[in-house]
């Protein structure tokens, strides 16, 4: 009944799954779509075709950390913003700076964050980042007190449209390390 009889239909199933999913879909997710065995290589090929099919259309098929998703092309962002005027509220500087430290220095403890920012970390800040599922605990540092180690999540990368941390904007853009005296640790 739900056997997928040909390649075109297979691609349709991928498309409809991507168009209705709120979260990025991984190759494993796609495999679950089909009862019969499907090769990963076939899926990749079909996803490529799908990307081409939509190349001139309103959505683009992008790959982020946890999989593939369709998203509105950038040029429509202004229109869509008008549709949803009640945007997600901006985070405070404390939240964004804490996030930046975790993203660029991970894994870090609260102590590390406090050392860099020069102020105590408000637990509300950590809670906001964890509730957004941008940050989570990945372990404990083997020092007295065994403080928790924080890192960014795949969901953080997804939300910022990235496949990996390597795509974060480089910090060197801002601090010219050659300006530092030789004995400064970079």
């Amino acid at each position: 009944m739900s056997k997928t009889n040909n390649i075109a239909e297979l691609k349709n199933v991928l498309e409809v799954a991507l168009l209705t999913s709120h979260e990025p879909l991984s190759l494993d997710d796609f495999l679950r779509l089909f009862v019969e065995r499907t090769e990963r290589a076939t899926l990749r090929m079909l996803l490529d075709e799908l990307k081409q099919d939509w190349a001139l259309r309103t959505l683009e098929l992008v790959q982020v950390a946890s999989g593939y998703r369709f998203q509105a092309r950038e040029k429509y962002a202004n229109y869509l913003a008008r549709l949803n005027p009640e945007r997600q509220s901006k985070y405070s500087r404390a939240v964004m700076e804490t996030l930046a430290i975790i993203a660029y220095r991970q894994p870090v403890t609260r102590g590390d964050i406090e050392e860099i920012r020069g102020v105590a970390v408000n637990s509300n800040v950590m809670r906001q980042l964890q509730e957004r599922d941008w940050v989570d605990v990945v372990g404990q540092r083997e020092v007295p007190g065994r403080p928790l180690l924080y890192a960014t999540t795949q969901h953080f990368l997804d939300d910022l449209n990235m496949k990996s941390l390597a795509e974060l904007p480089p910090m060197d853009d801002f601090v010219k390390s050659e300006n530092l005296p030789a004995h400064f640790p970079s």
């Binding site: 369709f70 020069g118 102020v119 400064f184």
Partner: protein, 264 residues
């Protein structure tokens, strides 16, 4: 951006006596101080505002300007001042170490400002990258993800339950039921209750049964037959069965006391 009193001041001036026209109402000052994320942020602000060279900070100037703020904070918002006071101590220490005469050859490597400068630069880098992250489009804010509707077919797998789960639940019930003593039931009686259900079920199907039909004399052992009999007696006692016999030695009939099918 918040307009700051520093805009109107000249580097190196004595800040301890604020001119009257620069007076900030305490509430406004609080807001203003909250704009800083901490002592490093305030220091960076002072350095940038006064075009100080971060790699060659005039410690005396910076320390004096910084102290003005800390004094105001102490007056208004004590709980905020902890980290700031620590920084004051550090600034003063650096300043005093710089006043000490030192051999020329180690001066280069042992600048007392080095650690402060490193921290300021690291913090500034984080501050800038945080701004950049903040401006990046994000899902829900600049990025809209496809989310067409679809008919959810629920393929709900019912939860697994095993005997231990059930026993645990029963144990919880018993622990809570303070009147448990009245309900104290043994294993044998459980079989009776099971047979009560079985008999009710059979009578639901055939509203009238002959008493003997309830016993499988061929297959059931004596204990089971006894249990079945006890179940019938218990059902009768609870008013769930009606047992009738026209006359002595004629067949005994068992029927359900209330016929579910005849319910209005």
């Amino acid at each position: 951006m918040i307009e700051t009193p520093l805009n109107a001041k000249i580097k190196g001036e004595d800040f301890t006596d604020l001119p009257k026209d620069l007076y900030i109402p305490p509430d406004a000052l609080e807001v203003y101080l909250e704009a800083f994320e901490g002592p490093l942020d305030l220091l960076l602000y002072l350095i940038r505002k006064h075009n100080l060279d971060i790699l060659d900070i005039p410690m005396a100037d910076l320390t004096r300007q910084y102290m003005v703020y800390v004094e105001k904070m102490r007056a208004i918002k004590l709980e905020l001042a902890g980290d700031y006071l620590l920084m004051s101590a550090m600034l003063i220490e650096i300043k005093s170490r710089m006043l000490l005469p030192k051999p020329a050859e180690i001066a280069e490597e042992d600048d007392p400002r080095a650690e402060l400068v490193r921290r300021l630069m690291e913090y500034e880098a984080i501050k800038l990258i945080a701004q950049r992250l903040d401006e990046m489009p994000k899902v829900g804010d600049g990025i809209s993800v496809a989310s067409a509707y679809f008919q959810h077919i629920s393929q709900v797998q019912p939860p697994e339950v095993n005997l231990e789960d059930l026993a645990e639940a029963w144990r919880n019930v018993l622990k809570r039921a303070c009147h448990f003593q009245h309900h104290k039931v043994g294993r044998a009686e459980l079989s009776v209750r099971e047979h009560m259900s079985i008999i009710l079920r059979r009578l639901k199907a055939d509203s009238l049964l002959e008493f003997t039909q309830l016993f499988d004399v061929v297959n059931d052992g004596i204990p089971k037959l006894v249990v079945c009999f006890l179940a019938i007696l218990e059902l009768a006692r609870e008013g769930l069965l009606r047992i009738t016999q026209q006359q002595a030695f004629s067949p005994i009939y068992v029927q359900i006391a209330i016929d579910l099918n005849q319910k209005s």
